[in-house]
Symmetry: D3
Subunit: 241 residues, 6 copies
């Protein structure tokens, strides 16, 4: 019933588009894509400061088994990002410095994995960027079949082979190849627009005024008062944390 | 029924008291306040090494909506700390570099938020200190009413507007304005006392002797033995739970 | 019924064996011990980059009470690692810079604790390595009995007094004294072997070939295909889970 | 600095108001109070089907210590609900059948506790309703001071002594005494209104029409289409995330 | 960029296939589908004993907003199962007895939702089966766009509109329409086979013999011994971790 | 290095002792054993109301692999309780109705497993009691070696083969064979003592008086006051949730 496959041909975005999204960063790309494509926060950056963008080579793997990661290496091209999903929750250290060496030899720029990694000190020395669910020495086997370059679910998000993956300290976002040019265009407008906003805010203009939010506050019934209506034995309304 | 308000007048501590608590740090302040006022560990420092102290401007916000954070900026004064609570659990990136720019323009020294932040790389470059529940690029809206400068609950702890907030790598602690002078006095005694203890311990004096704990151990029935009664020195192989 | 004891005599490994395991690191030691002895990932390194190895002095402690940690200091010898277990889940800051000063005066090289620590900024300045479940300022008492140098459970793993503890950025692993020489021998072989593998992978040899995994993939029914059968290259818009 | 107090006089709502809120249930009360006052979902019902309402007698307790629960029993009156908060996270079985017997003798109608309970089988036999964070046999001590009838934080919500507590299978909600009459009036209107809605929906009227949501959908840009643009009707085999 | 759509035409399985999978139950269906399609354990049954199977009508919803659930009701047909995904983690009570009444009027047999439900006591009385992440009274709004009948991710699993959903006390599993006949055939064989195994095991035959596992144990190096080498039969007192 | 063994001879307690501990229940046994031996709360009862006691047959198993559970069945005797530990965190449904049938054929009275179970509806019909970490249909393999009747760690607690296991709705507690008679004697005294206490409390005697706690409260500085010292802008001291 299950058909484990390794898919060879993947449609990738062109480098210029990928580089443009790289320059924009995850927050801007996520916004420019209509707030879609963002992986959940459990996949965290393990080399702070790193920013990568590339085409996704995807792996559907058994937890605690890195056989299919080895199979995926061969399908990677320079500039790709390896994206590994597990069929059940795992924090095993499924990836370490040997696999990083192998990926680097093929020009892969980073790893996103919904499981653990190990040899993290060496990965830092190598400067090989990783986004993962955990860092843990726990060893793995090479015994169970899976697939390469099929759509996978990682941290609540579908990742398709060839998707543009952008990852930085704010997380990981994916953009389908067909959407990438449009997202890039929106991102560029957004970046230009943000610079002007930043300058105004730095000059002391309030967001309330810059975004024109004062009428909205009034419409929503938010009132300005000098002091809390002086209750002694009760909290003010609206306090619910 | 719910009365969303923005309160303008907040009673703050004087700067000397705030500076004194800043010098003491969270662990000492928490102890000096009778082990009260400490936020739970889920609000973590995002700029390691940063230490801030200031008066709380509080926000009660809808999850995933930063409208009220914008409204709060106007209520901030130099030296304040913005403290944001959500009415339901959230990891949205509700605060980023634009809001940080705006807060800095008003002299705010840091942010404590029971939700996520984003643009963390830029926040690090700016040196704007943040304590948050998460770092995540997920975008927010500006659509839902809330309140500013009302008591809120953050990570299990009540924070009132004007409370002195002290935050460092050990967490975040709040002190009511009326208690602050007393806490500061206790903190100074404690710090003086600790220095002498540290020197003794560095010289090899044991805590058992310095604190006079040996009689307590005896009273509690703790016995010294040379070897475990009937002990073996290892578990059998294969014991791995 | 419960017999709280402080055990004085602990059988330790010799320094050469401990140093050998230190050089190997947790991932290699864990593998060389047949994938046993690894603590769960909730005990995390708090001084990135630190690597320690030493003999375990174990503490069974009441949560939020550090009396028995003080009692344990006296039982420590140069080169030991203090390992603290709690009888119930805790994130209290049970250990801080004063205790670190005391341990350092006795030559202890690090701390592994299934609870919180505090004064983390000072611990970093001192360069005293800690692996813990949390960092939190929350204070503790000195009131409840426990034991020193009895077998304990830490993060799902049994730790016996005298066990060789190896800790680095990938986690914490323990090796019984009797097993340590054998594990060391296996670790050395493994390290030698890995160097050759790393070189091959850096030269572009694939893990599939180096480990001879292609027949396994075929046996497991994994098929190579050029394109996904009936595939489309993107999900429809609006797919955001 | 910390002033541990047991407060004797608590302002309570009248019985008719409490009974009215009891009849409305937590979801309706929470809505009628402007969506405020609801405890977080970690406090769960342990006797399915039970519904209680009463005035809060509050306890601020040390984790794993039930001394202050005993102190609180004396402050309870017939119809009250005991509400227990801990100063740190706890799943200890701080309450069992003996305390339930004592509370029942004083006419207390239920318990809300941000910790564990034990003897749950006996509590079920007694029909004594409990909302708690855990069920666990773990024993407690009677050794640490705390307070009775002070404002506390339970599962992210402030509970003040005398608040009307309503608890059922959907959770626990609190209403300040001063707000209770207004909330009750709103709740009654809401209940009346819901009955008519329920009948319409049972007759096949759609919520889209009953609430007039179709224009909103159109305004928000939601389009009706016959098929997904470019859709395939299944994912490829092997997609399992 | 994001195209919020409500898709009207969904390809469904025939009733006989759905009924056959209903009879098999989730564990058997999951196995018969090659161990694919199972939602993660966070979506739990809220009416113990209920078993449903039907065609998925899917909803991609904003957390805390049930507008799109109302929109989805109109797309439901008798025998369908409504499957609701959120674009961010949520425990809001997004579904209650009014929506259940509406769904029942259209012949929908159950709900699977990656968020909370409320009015659970009424849902039990109605016998309307629900699988959800939480039960919580927290209210929702009707304000944010989403989609109906697009592929969604629920608890780590892709669910496509029309997928056969089988849900019981062991969880929730989905089967693509095209795979359903093959999975049903495999399930029937499996059920027949299990009956014979159950009888053998009830008669005292061991699984070791029935499955022929003894040679595997030997191959794997598992040895039978009379006693643990060097074992003691108990840990020392005071071992409590 | 790892020696996977199946140990045949296990020292068990006599039936009368086991029956006595069964009658006492987990809370009383845990107290009578000096508050030791209690498994953490993550292992929950899955058949409410069930109470079992028996001798532990222990299994150290690979996550998601039930080979060693089959191997353990042969080592079980009438009245035993099977206790299964995993070498890494798992919620797989490692145990179902077939294994329950096999265990029942050998007279085993219940299962404690630090992983998931499935076929829970059938287990309920059979009345076969289970304490587990999860209920989930997810399937397992039979491929990886482990051990039977070695000490294991389950939910933070060491369980040795032959330990008396007592499990009920309050959790699971284990007692070493050598301690069992003493624990039973203490438990019987405790039960007798509790009956008298229960009667006093039912008659309205307060725990404060029955346990003589009033002097302790005074010693600890807890003061009785009529009203909260009427602060407007601050919470009373000691409020920290």
């Amino acid at each position: 019933m299950v058909d484990h496959v390794i898919v060879r041909d993947v449609r990738r975005s062109d480098r210029a588009t990928i580089d443009g999204l790289h320059a924009a960063g995850t927050a801007t790309v996520h916004e420019s894509a209509g707030r879609t494509g963002l992986l959940g926060p459990r996949v965290e950056p393990r080399l702070p400061g790193a920013v990568v963008a590339g085409s996704a080579v995807t792996v559907s793997s058994h937890p605690g088994d890195n056989l299919m990661i080895h199979a995926a290496v061969e399908q990677c091209r320079p500039g790709d990002v390896l994206v590994v999903s597990c069929t059940a929750s795992s924090t095993h250290g499924m990836f370490g410095d040997l696999l990083a060496t192998s990926l680097r030899a093929r020009g892969v720029v980073g790893l996103v994995i919904d499981a653990g990694v190990r040899d993290i000190a060496t990965l830092r020395e190598m400067g090989f960027p990783v986004w993962s669910r955990a860092v843990h020495a726990q060893g793995t086997v090479k015994a169970t079949p899976g697939s390469v370059n099929v759509p996978v679910v990682v941290a609540g998000q579908i990742v398709r082979p060839g998707d543009v993956v952008v990852a930085d300290d704010d997380g990981v976002v994916v953009v389908p190849v067909a959407d990438a040019p449009g997202v890039l265009e929106a991102a560029r407008k957004r970046v230009a627009n943000e610079e002007s906003k930043r300058q105004q805010l730095a000059d002391g203009v309030l967001g309330l005024d810059m975004y024109g939010l004062r009428p909205l506050l009034a419409d929503l019934g938010v009132r300005y008062v000098d002091r809390l209506p002086g209750a002694v034995d009760r909290q003010p309304d609206g306090v619910d944390g």
